[in-house]
């Protein structure tokens, strides 16, 4: 196992339910993520990309059966996570309207993870975390409903970073935002990755976002990883799998073929 790998996933299988109602959401998925890089997990709804992310984060329901191997910096990841292990891996969710407690101030939202992990000088950490995501100290005692969508996502990012993780899992972090706000958040994430030497796993359905953010990617469909590729392959329009190419075409807008139907209607 290469030492430069922050994350190694080999033969991951996740099944929900039992017997005849069993549903295999992830099937034999394998990929690895180089430390300090950003890795894109691409697919449509039901492809299993979010389930992979949740398996990594330890956020799957206890009844889910997980098989296969997951390693963090070479260390096996088991369902029972120690606190130091949990601190190394944080998550940012898609919907900044749903992921922040509506009745907690920003101060409390940011302070809580720091307290849970027994960190000191929480006051300074909160101010620093806000500054890190481009918000001044005046935001500290506001409630989520007093913030715009972009500001909320900045708070969610600050909450993930305040305990100094090595790996950040990003689940569609900009798909609920306007494109102009998306640009600001993507720029922010790239800067934070450089400054804090973070490793990202980015789940997205948008190949343009993945191409912009990531060095490598895996395309998922129906629970399987159907293609692993470097970003240069994506940028050169050289993805091999037919479905990957279909996703790419869909990302470029509506085009009719000479037959009058877009390729997806064949």
């Amino acid at each position: 196992m290469s030492r430069a790998s922050a994350i190694e996933i080999a033969g991951l299988d996740v099944t929900f339910g039992r017997g005849r109602r069993a549903f295999r959401a992830v099937r034999d998925a394998s990929f690895s993520v180089t430390a300090g890089s950003s890795f894109g997990l691409v697919g449509e709804s039901g492809s299993g990309k979010t389930t992979v992310l949740r398996a990594l984060a330890g956020l799957l329901p206890p009844a889910a059966r997980i098989r296969g191997e997951m390693r963090l910096h070479g260390e096996p990841l088991r369902p029972a996570r120690s606190r130091p292990l949990r601190r190394r891996l944080q998550m940012v969710f898609q919907d900044p309207y749903g992921s922040l407690h509506p009745r907690h101030t920003v101060d409390r939202i940011l302070g809580e993870p720091a307290r849970v992990h027994g960190l000191d000088s929480i006051d300074r950490r909160i101010v620093d975390a806000l500054a890190d995501v481009g918000l001044d100290a005046s935001f500290r005692f506001r409630f989520p409903h007093q913030l715009s969508g972009g500001q909320r996502q900045r708070i969610a990012i600050a909450r993930a970073l305040i305990i100094e993780p090595a790996i950040v899992l990003l689940d569609e972090p900009t798909s609920a935002l306007d494109v102009s706000v998306q640009a600001e958040i993507l720029n922010l994430l790239q800067r934070l990755r450089r400054e804090h030497a973070l490793t990202f796993v980015l789940v997205s359905h948008d190949l343009a976002v993945v191409s912009h953010m990531c060095e490598a990617l895996a395309v998922m469909r129906a629970g399987e990883v159907i293609e692993n590729a470097g970003v240069e392959t994506l940028r050169a329009d050289a993805l091999r799998h037919e479905y990957s190419r279909e996703l790419l075409q869909a990302a470029q807008g509506y085009r009719t073929t000479p037959a009058g139907m877009p390729p997806a209607e064949r």
Binding site: S180, A183, A208, V209, H212, D237, P263
Partner: protein, 280 residues
């Protein structure tokens, strides 16, 4: 009506909401003329694009008020039309498709019943005839097993299937104008294109016009004939869709530039500097 006549004339449309903090202007002096074409209205959240669409149907929230110099659909003056006249237009000659079929289909009626209801309301047909036409309509929106879907409940449908059903229901009264507010934003990208192809096909068959409201400049630019770009309640620029890349207004140009590209180099994206002069 002659084909060349404009279908819809909107002149100086204003929409204002009364809030506890005073009136808020959502749409400020929007004007356009619509022919038998596909018109995109593009803008970010809060630009007033959805309220423009809703005002045309008289579907504003209770605290909303609208005013205009002229609002005419096929020579019917919408400002002076009575509620009865408006209701006859709404859902009949003008219909609307909303973003998420999960919320716009009735969850306690089967799909078939909902299409049958549309036929019974808009076309004076027997129950038996309505059922046959509903099945034909499901086939027309490319649903493979119409009989099966006819008996299905909305929660049993995928997003793409649900939106096809919505399109089927909206096309029942054979409208002249379809207003679609983010009709494909809740759908997966590959399904999105199939639903758009279907919509395109239905519009062409019927010769109907479309107002396509969306935040997605590229999608609208590639699907529509003409695009209105809205910012803070105003139309800042009107373009032919194929001229989108040569947009002049700094807001439109900013929106185009701040999108990541598949063939980009990963360097920082340009961000949008909002000029207060755009609000003037």
């Amino acid at each position: 009506m002659k084909r060349r006549d404009p279908l819809l004339i909107v002149d100086g449309l204003r929409v204002t909401f009364d809030t506890p903090r005073g009136p808020v202007a959502a749409v400020r002096d929007v004007s356009f003329v619509l022919g038998r074409e596909k018109l995109g209205i593009v803008g970010e959240s809060g630009s007033g694009k959805s309220q423009t669409g809703r005002a045309l149907l008289g579907l504003l929230a209770r605290n909303g008020r609208m005013a205009a110099r002229q609002l005419a659909f096929d020579n019917v003056d919408l400002l002076r039309a009575g509620e009865g006249e408006r209701r006859a237009l709404r859902g009949g000659r003008i219909s609307m498709i909303l973003q998420d079929p999960k919320f716009s289909l009735n969850p306690v009626m089967t799909v078939g019943e909902q299409i049958v209801e549309a036929f019974r309301v808009h076309a004076n047909v027997s129950r038996r005839e309505a059922r046959l036409r509903a099945l034909a309509m499901l086939e027309a929106v490319h649903i493979r097993e119409p009989g099966h879907v006819f008996d299905a409940w909305p929660h049993e449908l995928s997003g793409g299937m649900g939106q096809r059903v919505m399109i089927a229901i909206m096309m029942v009264p054979e409208p002249d104008l379809l207003i679609a507010d983010e009709p494909t934003s809740a759908l997966d990208v590959t399904v999105r294109l199939q639903v758009l192809a279907l919509l395109d096909d239905m519009l062409a068959r019927r010769g109907a016009a479309l107002i396509f409201i969306s935040h997605d400049l590229n999608l609208v630019g590639s699907f529509c004939d003409r695009v209105l770009v809205m910012y803070a309640g105003r139309v800042v620029e009107t373009l032919r869709a194929d001229e989108l890349q040569s947009a002049r207004h700094p807001y439109t140009r900013g929106l185009l530039a701040c999108q990541p590209r598949v063939d980009g180099d990963g360097s920082d994206l340009p961000t949008l500097d909002r000029d207060p002069a755009w609000l003037r």
